[in-house]
Amino acid sequence: MSKNRKSRNITVFFLLGACVFIFFMLNICIGSVRIALPDVARAFCGQENNEMVARILWDIRLPRATAVWILGGALSLAGYLLQTFFNNPIAGPFVLGISSGAKMVVALIMVFFMGKGISVTSAAMIFAAFIGAMLSMGFVLMMSRRIHNMSMLVVSGVMIGYICSAVTELVVTFANDADIVNLHNWSRGSFSGMTWENVKVMAVVVSIVFLAVFLMSKPLGAYQLGDAYARNVGVNLQLLRVCIVIFSSILSACIVAFAGPISFVGIAVPHLVKKLLNTTDPIWMIPACFVGGSAFCLFCDLLAKTVLAPTELSISTVTAIFGAPVVLWIIKRKENRKP
């Protein structure tokens, strides 16, 4: 690797990192109550005298911003894994119906248990979402064996998504009135109402998966050359495929369990990051996708909270506004390149 490329990549990381930091701080300061930076600093040191400010910071803003930071990165990484897996630039957990599958199972579980007055733990939610994600993933994989046209695969993913969403809507409609508000917000995607307990669970799950994916960066790089050459250099393709499917499903599940389905981040961010880095080498792309996803989601969550305050937009509304044009741009570029 040339020196030039390395310094470019490091600059990109520095920039993305700075974005994450700035948006994170803005997310903490801005909201229904504006908190000045000195107050934030004091609260961090435990010296804030205003009990309400401290509570808002510790119980609402900080866990939420941390969750956005973790889940945004996870979402973008899940998208990158799926794009690599299907060798398809517009694959992602949302368009392939994986998020919706996870959403459906979580909704079923929540309505079922809430109806009986039992609260569901974070870990159980992730597990339910994982089952749903694997269901959709299994279906997409089955389709991909028969359909080799990439756009048709995405279309069938979108269809799976619609079916799952319809079932979810049905379940939500029949749920108790009290649950509906919560469920409805969640099923459209929202980062609100995160607790430290949630954050702890997601931090553990996401960091383990992130580490595992990063350790896979060498075989992932060989996988980009296609099956024949990957096998020729000694990659265990079957094992690698199983790992990609499971890890991307866990990541998608984790996001859906806590924030509901969030659209387009998984496609847009890896693409933008790839353009910034000017490489597809997984050893750079994996961490960069994570940081980029965090920055993008922190930015979108900031807008979701502030644009129509005090009403909060669903996070997918904002991510779609910024993410969908990127997807259109990718498709247009792909069509142009064809002879």
């Binding site: 060498k218 050359l225 000694g234």
Partner: protein, 264 residues
Amino acid sequence: MKNYYFFTKKICVGYDNKPLIKDMEITLGGGEILCLIGPNGAGKSTVLKSIAGQLGLLGGTVYLGEDDLSEMKAEELAKRMSVVFTEKVRVELKSCRDMVATGRYPYTGWFGILSEEDERIVNEVMELTHITDISEKDFGKISDGQKQRVMLARAICQEPEIVILDEPTSYLDIKYKLEFLLLLQEMREKKGLTVIMSLHELELAKIVSDKILCLKGEYVERYGTPEEIFESDFIERLFDMNEKEFLGNEKLLAYMKQIGKYER
């Protein structure tokens, strides 16, 4: 079989449990060049994929030296055998040098970072294959012929004992075709590289190979040295060429006759 470097014992190849070619026996000494010839659709690519371990055998065993190919570890095989296939490689934002360097995969550590030794070998191979001038070009934006040379460099970079090539010359112009064959012979002399490849250019197969395998129908049609293959009208029969088709066109007729002959 002790003296052979590459040996197939009654292998049967095909897709989806449907045998295409049965009971194939190939014996090759170390440093020998084998060409597969035969009409379109005869199964040349299938044979190459099968003996490279990319496609499951429907029967029989492939040996590399003393080792059964199916029992070798993937990493070990990667250090001994490399391939160039005809499938188009779709990669993004990878320079030609990056592509060649992927051949070092079996030798690098957990994260695949190239050592100075690896970098040196990559440079050397790129010199050898005359692609140093396109080193920094985007692999997606070069011509098919250039891609073929880059993929060949990638295969050599893997430092194999045996290389399997599926129509490696199809996109090359005449100069690079000859250069490519020169390179193979050089590699054979210097490093004892064994080569198995399919070729459409019979004239080239005739002059470059030690052994020729002719495929047609369910069994190996013929296997032998170029002298044995290019005799009387065998080539005409192999490709179903009929003199009658060319009657009245003396030039084509003469060309057809010329191809089938072996001259020392």
